[in-house]
């Protein structure tokens, strides 16, 4: 498993600053740490299932936006709930706030992420409060030190290297080289 140290070494070598004179190793570590978040989001890795207990008549649940990047899926007893865009959902359901299901109690059908802080599960009912499995993309371990391993499969490390390289090249105003790396990133 590659550590931040490996990535820093390679980036500094690529930008011909192996000893970290123009850009220090600590500064590159900071960039690697931040870029890792973007690449994790892009790759859909770090998926974790969490059990969300629910309450009667409650559709809205808080998300820990420091630990969770986004909700990917929701399941009720292995049944996948339908994902919905929140802004569209509330246009079609006037009673989205506290709809009380009576024909099929305790059966959530729809989920929607609301901004970065809330999860909507619908429809709640008046008596039952089943547990819902929320599949989330988690935040990776932040790279506090060079010895920390990246929370990303090896095959994505080159994307991290390329992005950090582009940032460092922009930083030292090597615009021709930066443009070439950015062009490489643009390729699908």
């Amino acid at each position: 498993m590659a550590t931040a140290e490996n990535i820093i070494d390679e980036v500094l070598l690529r930008v011909r600053d192996a000893s970290g004179d123009a850009t220090t190793r600590a500064q590159v570590l900071d960039l690697v740490d931040r870029v890792q978040l973007i690449v994790v989001r892009a790759t859909g890795s770090l998926i974790n299932d969490r059990t969300q207990s629910t309450n009667v008549e409650q559709a809205l649940y808080a998300l820990d936006s420091d630990a969770v990047m986004r909700v990917v899926d929701c399941f009720h007893s292995n049944r996948r709930l339908s994902p919905s865009r929140w802004s569209k959902f509330i246009q079609t359901q006037i009673d989205w706030w506290r709809h009380q299901e009576t024909t099929d109690p305790g059966r959530f059908n729809v989920w929607a992420q609301v901004g970065v802080s809330y999860l909507l599960l619908w429809p709640p009912d008046t008596t039952s409060k089943p547990d819902i499995v929320v599949r989330e993309q988690q935040m990776p371990t932040r790279l506090a030190a060079e010895a920390t391993a990246l929370d990303l499969p090896e095959q994505y490390h080159d994307t991290v290297r390329n992005i950090v390289e582009a940032l460092v090249l922009l930083r030292v105003r090597d615009l021709d080289a930066a443009e070439a790396v950015i062009a490489r990133l643009e390729r699908p």
Partner: protein, 194 residues
């Protein structure tokens, strides 16, 4: 979540110059956060106690814009003075169970409820579910924020620098600014964010 100070430090790390203007970067950050708010990244829910005979209610703190208003367990319909004039000439004095809301145009950052509530709600407390107080209002708002999601900090910093290096100044550099924009867009696309 990343705070403004952290993003300003990041922007300066990427820029490698002390020439960038702090005041400008501050403004660019605030504008970037407003743009994120418009994309409904920061949505807030606030219970506001409905008061018998009171038509106008102030925006919750931090709210930039009201998306919708609920009363008890139903979403109210957004309306306008023109629409209400057309159906009820004395709508300003009508009381009853609220069905509509609209932006109040005389007093800024206020919402008017129609009909005027004829009951006072239980209490103003942000409880959802069964403990949600009866007959109260809930404001669903787009909120301002002082922090942004960590995964969007580099694209935001690049956007701020693109503006700083585009403006007339001693350090103006259109090519550098264009590369900031290009890389920022690639990273936004990768992150799948707004």
């Amino acid at each position: 979540m990343a705070a403004k100070a952290d993003i300003l430090t990041l922007a300066k790390l990427i820029a490698l110059t002390t020439e960038v203007n702090d005041t400008n970067l501050n403004d660019y950050f605030d504008e970037a956060v407003r743009a994120l708010s418009d994309s409904q990244v920061f949505v807030g829910f606030k219970v506001v106690q409905a008061v018998n005979g009171t038509a106008k209610y102030a925006y919750p703190t931090n709210a930039l814009r009201v998306l919708t208003v609920l009363w008890h367990d139903k979403e109210l319909t957004e309306t306008s003075t023109q629409q209400l004039d057309a159906v009820n000439r004395s709508w300003r004095a009508t009381t009853g169970t609220p069905t509509c809301w609209m932006e109040e145009h005389v007093d800024e950052r206020q919402v008017r409820i129609y009909p005027i509530p004829d009951t006072t709600g239980d209490a103003a407390a942000d409880n959802w579910g069964a403990t949600y107080p009866d007959n109260d209002l809930v404001f669903v708002t787009v909120d301002s924020a002082t922090t942004i999601p960590d995964w969007i900090d580099i694209p935001v910093a690049l956007g701020m620098l693109a503006r700083e290096f585009s403006r007339e100044s001693k350090h103006r550099d259109p090519r550098l600014a264009q590369l900031y924009v290009k890389l920022g867009l690639i990273l936004r696309r990768l992150a799948g964010g707004p």
